[in-house]
């Protein structure tokens, strides 16, 4: 017991010493310098995770906090010439504690408002794995890290379904792998319906990314096995007259064959390059590329981001058993949802920003932007918002935030979508430590001034300062 007491005494003595404080202040400085250079090379997200919100940085800050407290306590009883010192240290302690309160209990995120769409979800800076089944969402928090790590989670979903999360790569790069597989076929088609154009991928295998069917407004496309195609000539599928269906297959000589029609009218032909218009529709398609006898395997590897990469790609590998009981492995990313058939049900998986539902509902009524005349700079921009059930429009602009229910909404930025509509980006903030921070800041300014007033009013015989 005495050795523990001794240890505590020694620690107290060490932590209240000037030399310890100065040493840790210098470490703090070096950490910050490293942080700015890391940010300059790898970007803000990476710098936050690697430096500013890392465990060792928090440790240094914790030691500095203790140093501030103990150094003041150690120099009690009260001496008037140390008044400035006491005030300064108290204020710094208040600032650090309030930062802690803000970090752990506050909300800091962003909200994107599309014109006319109601939103009450705030996107936070942490990430989750979201598994959706039917209407239910199951969210799992992903650890905050900079390097790839093995998670080895076992997740239990309803209906006795299990998913294993193997590993997680917070900063990932796509590294596709090709594997030879006879009989596998992936195609990319350019499609056009009326004025709209796009491209789709159809495969004769189902791996979560590629489908073997495509549906659009009364038109159906299917990739089918050649055996099935051959039977169609004798047994026409009963398809309703209002829907046009196209079956695509590859015959034994690697020619692409098509069967299309509706009701009882069907056409069977070989596909030759070029655009095919489905009769009775304004739908046409053309083959862009095909990959025969290979399977493109999705794969991701860790790669440090650069300052310019805005959206970091995150990837996670999961394992599960399919309908046949075989173990399948799939990659889940934050780029798009992945559909998986696990057991008998279908699940959608995606990595997303953690969302927080707040009791305030906002919708963007309209967005106003003014450019500086003769330049391409935005002079000012502001959002006009409807808040929850209120009738009047609220107004958010730079330096004029909106405060509702303890949350503050700031105009952070904006962007234009493909149709030219402006979307407003708000930064959402709830800071329970705010009052303490203002108090700490105020006290700090007072303390600094008090210190130098006392020091410079001393009679000349005193300690030389």
């Amino acid at each position: 017991m005495t050795s523990l007491l001794n240890f505590l005494k020694q620690s107290y003595k060490l932590l209240s010493s000037m030399k310890c404080a100065l040493f840790f202040l210098m470490l703090f400085m070096l950490g910050m310098m490293a942080g700015t250079f890391v940010e300059s090379i790898y970007g803000t997200t990476f710098a936050l995770r690697a430096v500013y919100h890392s465990w060792w940085f928090f440790f240094i800050e914790a030691v500095l906090l203790l140093s501030l407290i103990f150094s003041a306590i150690n120099r009690l009883p009260y001496k008037q010439r140390l008044l400035g010192f006491y005030i300064v240290h108290t204020s710094l302690v208040a600032l650090i504690i309030s930062s802690g309160i803000t970090y752990y209990f506050g909300t800091d995120g962003s909200m994107v408002l599309a014109p006319g769409v109601k939103n009450s979800l705030v996107e936070l800076s942490s990430d989750i794995l979201r598994i959706t089944s039917g209407k239910e969402n199951y969210d799992y928090k992903i650890p905050f890290s900079t390097s790839a790590n093995k998670l080895d989670w076992e997740l239990d979903l309803p209906n006795k379904v299990k998913i294993r999360v193997l590993n997680y790569i917070p900063f990932a790069k796509e590294a596709l792998r090709w594997q030879r597989r006879d009989g596998f076929w992936l195609t990319t088609w350019k499609i056009r319906k009326g004025q709209r154009e796009g491209s789709i991928r159809l495969a004769n295998y189902f791996d979560g990314r590629f489908k073997n069917y495509f549906l659009l407004d009364g038109v159906e496309l299917f990739i089918v096995p050649y055996e099935f195609y051959r039977t169609m000539k004798t047994l026409l599928p009963k398809k309703a007259i209002d829907k046009v269906t196209l079956f695509i297959t590859k015959d034994e000589n690697d020619f692409i064959r098509l069967a299309y029609g509706s009701g009882k009218k069907w056409t069977f032909e070989k596909y030759t390059m070029g655009e095919l218009q489905l009769p009775g529709t304004d739908f046409s398609l053309a083959l862009l590329e095909e990959f025969s006898n290979v399977v493109i395997k999705e794969n991701y590897i860790p790669e440090k981001p650069t300052k310019d990469s805005n959206k970091n790609l995150q990837a996670m590998q999961v394992a599960y058993r399919d309908l046949q009981g075989m173990e399948q492995k799939q990659w889940i990313t934050n780029a798009q949802e992945k559909q998986l058939r696990i057991g008998e049900s279908v699940y959608f998986l995606q990595i997303k920003s953690e969302e927080l539902k707040i009791p305030v509902v906002l919708a963007l009524d309209h967005f106003k932007i003014e450019l500086v005349p003769g330049t391409m700079q935005a002079a000012s921009y502001e959002s006009f918002i409807t808040v929850s059930d209120q009738q009047q429009l609220s107004h958010i602009s730079m330096n004029h935030p909106l405060k509702v229910d303890g949350y503050t909404f700031y105009q952070s930025s904006y962007f234009q979508d493909d149709h030219g509509n402006y979307h407003s980006v708000l930064s959402v903030n709830k800071d329970p430590g705010r009052a303490l921070k203002y108090l700490g800041a105020f006290l700090l300014m007072i303390g600094v001034l008090v210190h130098y007033l006392i020091v410079y009013r001393e009679p000349k015989g005193g300690e030389m300062r």
Binding site: T36, A378, N399, V448
Partner: protein
């Protein structure tokens, strides 16, 4: 001769516009002609210089062509004539390596002509939009693209006559080119000249004042005058150290310099309608002035009244003034509109001013430290005076720490008010905290016997490098990324040169210290 006259006559008859525009544009009365731009009324010569600076990239031969005359020619459709006659190259400067690739330029080539810009303008615009959408339009290639597009757009605006306006009798601002085309159709050049030059008579009182302020500012050039005053002040202050007969002269020059600079600062404030601390140029201006003011306060109101600080104050101010007048690529002297986040005047004035004054204090102290270390390198006999100099350096550090602390706190409060967070580990914020903590370490360490005597000057020099990193380094080294552009830009060269010089001084100082330390040790052991 007769043939020449014949030729001129034919030319004058065949191309009436050619001859007339020629005369009118050389009229010196054009310089002060009022013009409405970016919501302010300024004399034409100011706006013309601003515009022409961007797209005049080469002037072969030494024709006395003023910016105003060139602007006039271009605005009245004389683009081809003026390029030929005055052997000019109009275009834009291209410095960013990626942008040079875009135009297929050599590494050493940094100009692209207007014609090439015109042919590539769609691609340029698309590329720029890409950077804007990615949020990268204020740095690296995005910024470079924006600058080039701005120059091109300005040129197009000017040559299409959409830029130059004049004040009509009705009080409305109309385009000069429209009037010119209307009147020159009837060969009525005199009427055109008369109408345009009469603009002055129709200005409102506030517009006249605005015009006068800008003219006064640009013509009186207070910060160029200040250089001469500073040099004079430096020599007087230097002499005043040994001869007290120069005391009064030094004081007088000091106050005149400070007043002239205040005059310039106030004019800038009145013209721009805000406190003058919104860009690099202005921070250098206020810091230089602040350093001289602080030196003056310490010399005349401090405890020891050490006159040796005064010439160093002048040196600080001189350094700032040199940068302002001669580093025009790094510092932009023009008075421009503000981005939205800077529009709240109170926080702007207090937070930035406080931080800049802290830079002034630290720079002054570091300059003193440099003098101390350099003198020490040459002669250790100087060592005896080090204690006195340390006092002065310590005071500057204390002033700096107070202002920097207040500045950082105000910055946090401003950021919270504007964006909802006090602190975001933004590089500028972080480096200002690094600087503050460094000086706190020095001041605290002094109390436990660290950094005594010459070592104190050493750390003051290290402190300067941190201040420069915070002040300039964040903008010129960090924000453009470490791998591109940075090294060839003027700002980085400036910073790296200072760092190298300071490191050399430190290095020599440390060597001198080790030698004299070893000598002293040997002496003690001898006894």
């Amino acid at each position: 001769m007769k043939q020449l006259q014949m030729l001129l006559l034919i030319l004058l008859i065949l191309f009436p516009t050619y001859g007339q525009a020629l005369e009118f544009c050389q009229n010196p009365a054009l310089e002060k002609l009022p013009m409405l731009t970016a919501g302010r009324v300024v004399p034409l010569f100011v706006h013309a210089q601003e515009m022409v600076k961007g797209f005049l990239i080469e002037k072969k031969g030494d024709n006395a062509l003023t910016a105003t005359a060139l602007y006039c020619y271009l605005s009245l459709g004389q683009k081809e004539m003026v390029s030929e006659r005055f052997a000019l190259v109009l275009g834009a400067k291209v410095k960013h390596p990626q942008l040079k690739d875009f135009f297929h330029l050599d590494k050493n080539d940094n100009k692209v002509s207007i014609e090439i810009l015109a042919s590539k303008k769609e691609e340029l615009w698309q590329r720029y939009q890409m950077e804007v959408n990615a949020g990268r339009d204020r740095e690296g290639v995005g910024l470079a693209l924006g600058e080039v597009l701005l120059v091109y757009n300005n040129f197009v605006m000017v040559t299409e006559g959409r830029d130059w306006n004049y004040l009509e009798r009705s009080g409305k601002w109309a385009k000069v080119l429209a009037l010119y085309q209307e009147l020159s159709a009837n060969a009525n050049e005199e009427e055109f000249s008369r109408i345009v030059l009469k603009s002055n008579a129709y200005l409102s009182a506030s517009e006249v004042q605005s015009l006068q302020l800008v003219t006064l500012y640009e013509k009186s050039r207070p910060f160029a005058t200040a250089i001469i005053l500073c040099l004079l002040g430096f020599f007087c202050a230097l002499l005043a150290i040994k001869r007290s007969s120069f005391d009064l002269v030094a004081q007088i020059v000091l106050w005149i310099t400070l007043i002239v600079e205040v005059y310039g600062i106030v004019l800038r404030m009145m013209i721009s309608g805000r406190a003058p601390i919104t860009n690099m140029y202005e921070t250098v201006l206020i810091a230089g002035w602040g350093a001289l003011l602080l030196a003056a306060l310490i010399v005349y109101f401090g405890k020891d009244k050490d006159k040796r600080l005064l010439p160093l104050g002048f040196v600080c101010n001189l350094a700032a003034l040199f940068m302002m007048n001669f580093s025009t690529t790094m510092l932009d002297a023009s008075i421009k509109p503000l981005v939205p986040v800077l529009r709240d005047n109170f926080w702007l004035s207090t937070h930035v001013t406080s931080v800049v004054l802290s830079y002034a204090a630290f720079t002054l102290g570091s300059l003193v430290a440099n003098v101390v270390v350099i003198a020490y390198i040459f002669s250790t006999r100087f060592y005896k005076q080090v204690q006195e100099w340390n006092q002065i350096i310590r005071i500057t550090m204390q002033v700096g720490v107070v202002f920097l602390t207040i500045g950082i706190l105000l910055g946090g409060i401003w950021a919270d008010y504007s964006w909802g967070r006090f602190w975001g580990w933004d590089p500028k914020e972080t480096w200002s905290l690094i600087t503050l903590i460094a000086y706190l370490v020095v001041l605290h360490g002094w109390h436990v016997g660290w950094f005594r005597e010459i070592l104190f000057s050493f750390v003051a020099i290290i402190g300067l490098m941190l201040v420069l990193m915070t002040w300039f380094g964040v903008n010129y080294i960090l924000s453009v990324g470490l791998h591109s552009y940075g090294v060839s830009a003027g700002g980085t060269i400036f910073l790296l040169s200072i760092f190298i010089v300071e490191l050399m001084i430190l290095f020599l100082g440390v060597i001198r210290y080790r030698i004299s330390y070893a000598k002293a040790k040997a002496k003690v052991e001898e006894r």
